[in-house]
């Protein structure tokens, strides 16, 4: 039926040509969609994995006989105080050493840890003693400083009463 009708329409003769439409399509909506998806996936992806710091704690040893005492000349103590304060002294608390206040800035405790007094002494052991009022950030900061300055021998130690007393006498808070 359709054929017959078509023939009737083109009565003029001559070939009937199929209308050739352009092959180009408008891709703008496609691009929009793709860009939207990219944005979505970029924002939901957790790209960089968190960094970690690996620390090894010394094995707890309850037997005091097997522990060796540290010589005063090889000891350095860093005390982490409240309000991001940091103090350090060389030697043992019993000898009433001078307690010096420092800071976490690049010119603070890092300078002390890279000073000849620490670096030239291979047996130098750094003891980190955080006070009750210190924050977790302080601990991470000091461990980071020790890592940056490549200090090999260090330990996290509980604060002793002698340290507190020393701090109270010399800094007075």
């Amino acid at each position: 039926m359709a054929e017959i009708q078509e023939q009737a329409d083109s009565g003029k003769g001559g070939k009937k040509r199929a209308k050739r439409s352009s092959t180009k399509i408008d891709m703008t909506p496609l691009v929009d969609l793709a860009a939207l998806l990219i944005t979505f996936f970029m924002l939901t992806t957790t790209f960089n994995k968190p960094q970690t710091m690996e620390i090894n704690m010394p094995v707890k040893d309850d037997n005091p006989d097997s522990q060796t005492l540290l010589k005063a000349s090889n000891a350095m103590t860093i005390i982490l105080g409240e309000d991001d304060k940091v103090f350090y002294y060389f030697g043992l608390a019993e000898d009433n050493p001078e307690v010096i206040e420092s800071s976490y800035a690049a010119g603070g405790i890092r300078k002390v840890l890279t000073s000849p007094q620490v670096k030239s002494n291979e047996k130098m052991t750094v003891m980190v003693k955080p006070m009750e009022g210190s924050r977790y950030k302080n601990m991470v900061d000091i461990l980071d400083e020790l890592k940056i300055t490549d200090t090999k021998k260090f330990a996290m130690v509980d604060i002793a009463d002698s340290d507190k007393k020393l701090l109270q006498e010399q800094i007075g808070n």
């Binding site: 990219i38 939901t44 994995k49 968190p50 960094q51 710091m53 950030k137 991470v140 980071d144």
Partner: protein, 201 residues
């Protein structure tokens, strides 16, 4: 001088290469994406110059938030289901299959064992709203220690990571480290943010 005729071009341009590129990127991001897990609490970790990355799998994450509450999380659904079974046996709390399923999808939690059942019964939206008190870490009810021990028995390959908030109190972190050391874990990771390593020392 003859007039310069501006050639009028068709403003529509061929977008095919652009679309190709976009779909390539979409595919890339879709394949690399791992949806951000629902954390029970948001912590702001301190930064460090360390460059070690945390492994993808077999990680116990102990989160300490700024109010010094302790949260526990472990990856792997099978691990979590087996772990819950063991903990249920130890504490005498029964869990239904559905609760186990919910637990295996939880990324971390911070409630004592006695409240875990009611936490699992909640809708996931309600669970986000609820204020989780943290896992008990005192020596009388050392549930964190049990969780760690049972996880290590379930999956011996686990690595332990502590994710602490900047403002978490040191004594809490110290207590967590002590618990780990009591369980003979002397090597663990502290999760930190990235920071540029200083070059001039």
């Amino acid at each position: 001088m003859p007039k310069v005729k501006v050639k009028r071009k068709n403003p529509s341009l061929d977008m095919t290469p652009m679309v190709d590129l976009f779909f390539l990127l979409v595919t890339f991001f879709m394949l690399t994406a791992s949806a951000r897990p629902d954390e029970a609490v948001i912590v702001d970790t301190p930064s460090s110059a360390s460059e070690i990355k945390i492994p993808d799998t077999n990680v116990i994450t102990i989160t300490v938030d700024k109010d010094s509450r302790v949260f526990f999380g472990v990856d792997g659904q099978q691990t979590k289901e087996a772990l819950l079974d063991k903990m249920a046996g130890k504490y005498g709390v029964g869990f239904t299959e559905e609760e186990k399923k919910t637990f295996s999808l939880l990324s971390n939690f911070g409630v004592p064992m006695s409240q875990l059942k009611s936490l699992l019964a909640m809708e996931s939206s309600a669970r986000k709203e609820v204020n989780q008190p943290g896992i008990p870490i005192d020596s009388v009810r050392n549930e964190l220690g049990d969780w760690i021990l049972q996880t290590r028995l379930t999956n011996p390959k686990v690595v332990i990571a502590i994710k602490g908030d900047q403002d978490a109190e040191y004594p809490t972190v110290k207590r967590v480290i002590d618990i780990l050391q009591d369980r003979k874990v002397n090597r663990f990771n502290l999760i930190t943010d990235m920071e540029a390593k200083p070059t001039n020392l």
